[in-house]
């Protein structure tokens, strides 16, 4: 990975983080699009699993700082998602839009499962509703947004060789 590609990847990552803290509160949906998961997944497939885990951990910690009651849960979930995505990139990250969408969907749902479990706040019906209804819906929206963003950011992330 050369420096230009690294810089572009960092720029795309920063853009997604900014989107997470601007577009998400602006929309205020019950099933929000998780731009941080998209950012971590897109970064994870470009680095080694260890680095992906570190990126996920840092991103999760930043997200957790706004919710001290669930501090650490986001970091754990992002670490797991980032590392897993990096290990499985050869399997899932083929150049296919549908597969990309599926990748984002599974990544977000997995994040929610780890997060809600580590947070230990929800129980019973509430937990089931969250994991079987709201999380898949949020994951679907994240997948759609991720695919759209990937198509938009493709020139930045994967520049044509001269």
């Amino acid at each position: 990975m050369n420096w230009t590609r690294s810089a572009r990847a960092v720029l795309a990552f920063a853009l997604l983080v900014v989107l997470h803290y601007t577009v998400r509160p602006l929309l205020g949906w019950r099933t929000p699009v998780d731009f941080l998961v998209i950012a971590v997944l897109l970064s994870a497939v470009r680095v080694r699993p260890g680095a992906a885990a570190l990126i996920g951990f840092c991103t999760g910690l930043v997200a957790d700082s706004l919710m001290p009651s669930a501090f650490g849960a986001g970091a754990l979930a992002m670490t797991a998602v980032g590392a897993t995505a990096s290990w499985l990139k050869a399997v899932f990250f083929a150049d296919n839009v549908v597969l990309h969408g599926f990748f984002f969907f599974v990544g977000k749902w997995a994040f929610d499962i780890v997060y809600v479990t580590a947070e230990r706040r929800m129980r019973g019906v509430e937990l089931a509703t969250q994991l079987l209804l709201w999380s898949p819906l949020s994951a679907a929206l994240t997948a759609v947004a991720g695919v759209i963003l990937l198509l938009m950011l493709r020139p930045v992330l994967e520049p044509q060789a001269a």
Partner: protein, 353 residues
């Protein structure tokens, strides 16, 4: 090569395990420690993101409250518009009260309802009729002066013509009784000269003796001649002389005291009041009566009462607070709180044993 790959895998695993361990550790940290770390992050690295999030949330709440704010603004504007109308109506009613107090007896107050039909703009339907003692040709007045005359009467309502009606005529004089004439509506739609707009809602004082010259601004009142209108009701004031072909009499243009659009509440003078009565003094003292009526109304104003009650309540609360403070101080300072020992009773010189 294989060794390098193995080493890389080991580093990856170590990083993953370390990250997971730190994340798990973070979840089990005491709340105050978690809050301290999170607060540190919020104040440093995450500060720009927190600011962005706050701005976005503020934008969203502003967007959501936009419709409610708009509708609230609309309703306030509407209420404001109605307020001006209510204020003017209130003022007219107060003036009417003052006039009624001066008249003392022989009148009924009525609402003058506007007839919307074409050609009926010079008449008003009054909400009083023969049951209230109203008869045809009884004068209709307002606090400012003469409005017109009752034309037809029904048991519960009547129809009055305004001074703008073509059938209107009233015997009039200058307030100092130096000039007499007949007042008619000024029906010319053309202006007095080039550049002046057509004159509506004006009167003409016709048949004034040639020797009686009136200056602009001279008040014109009813003269009492003719038996319909009692003397002393203001009609208007002289604007200027009109040039006519008649060489033996003068005609003056008169600005009326009452504007037809303002006619909403009126007083109908009953026949007993109009016979051989001069109402000179009534309108002369109406101005002072009006101000007196305003004072009375202000004293009875519910808002004023409420403000007064609030101020009394505030004063009572302040007094109670002061009393509580002084008691507290008394408790804090035992030397003042404890009552001084009673003096031994000394017999008064003239007292009972």
């Amino acid at each position: 090569m294989a060794r390098a790959v193995r080493s890389g895998t080991r580093v990856d695993t170590a990083l993953l395990v370390a990250c997971c361990a730190m994340a798990l550790l973070a979840t089990v940290l005491p709340l105050n420690l978690r809050e301290a770390i999170a607060g540190g992050l919020r104040r440093t690295v995450v500060a720009p993101l927190v600011s962005l999030q706050q701005q976005a949330e503020r934008g969203r709440s502003a967007f959501l409250s936009r419709e409610a704010t708009t509708s609230r603004l609309d309703s306030i504007s509407l209420r404001n518009m109605q307020l001006a109308k209510l204020e003017s109506e209130n003022e007219r009613l107060r003036a009417l009260l003052g006039l009624g107090r001066q008249l003392e007896w022989g009148f009924v107050s009525a609402e003058a309802l506007r007839v919307t039909d074409i050609g009926e703009e010079n008449t008003r339907t009054l909400t009083v009729g023969s049951r209230a003692g109203v008869e045809p040709k009884t004068p209709v007045v307002a606090p400012e002066g003469l409005v017109g005359m009752v034309l037809t009467v029904d048991p519960a309502s009547s129809i009055a013509i305004l001074w703008t009606h073509t059938d209107f005529a009233a015997s009039a004089m200058s307030a100092d009784r130096s000039a007499y004439g007949i007042v008619y509506p000024h029906l010319s739609e053309s202006g007095r000269g080039e550049g002046t707009p057509p004159e509506r809602y004006l009167l003409e004082l016709r048949g004034v003796a040639f020797r009686s010259a009136l200056k602009p601004g001279t008040p014109i009142v009813t003269s009492g001649l003719g038996g319909v209108y009692p003397a002393g009701i203001p009609i208007g004031s002289v604007l200027g002389e009109l040039r006519t072909s008649e060489g033996w009499a003068r005609t003056y243009l008169v600005r009326p005291a009452v504007r037809p659009p303002d006619v909403s509440n009126v007083i109908v003078l009953l026949p007993g009041k109009t016979k051989d009565q001069s109402l000179d003094r009534v309108w002369r003292s109406t101005v002072s009566a009006d101000s007196a009526a305003r004072r009375i109304a202000a004293a009875g104003d519910s808002i004023a009462r409420r403000v007064a009650a609030d101020s009394v309540r505030g004063a009572e609360a302040a007094a109670a607070r002061r009393a509580a403070d002084s008691v507290a101080k008394g408790v804090a300072r035992p030397d003042t709180a404890v009552r001084a020992p009673a003096r031994p009773a000394t017999p008064r010189p003239g007292g009972r044993p």
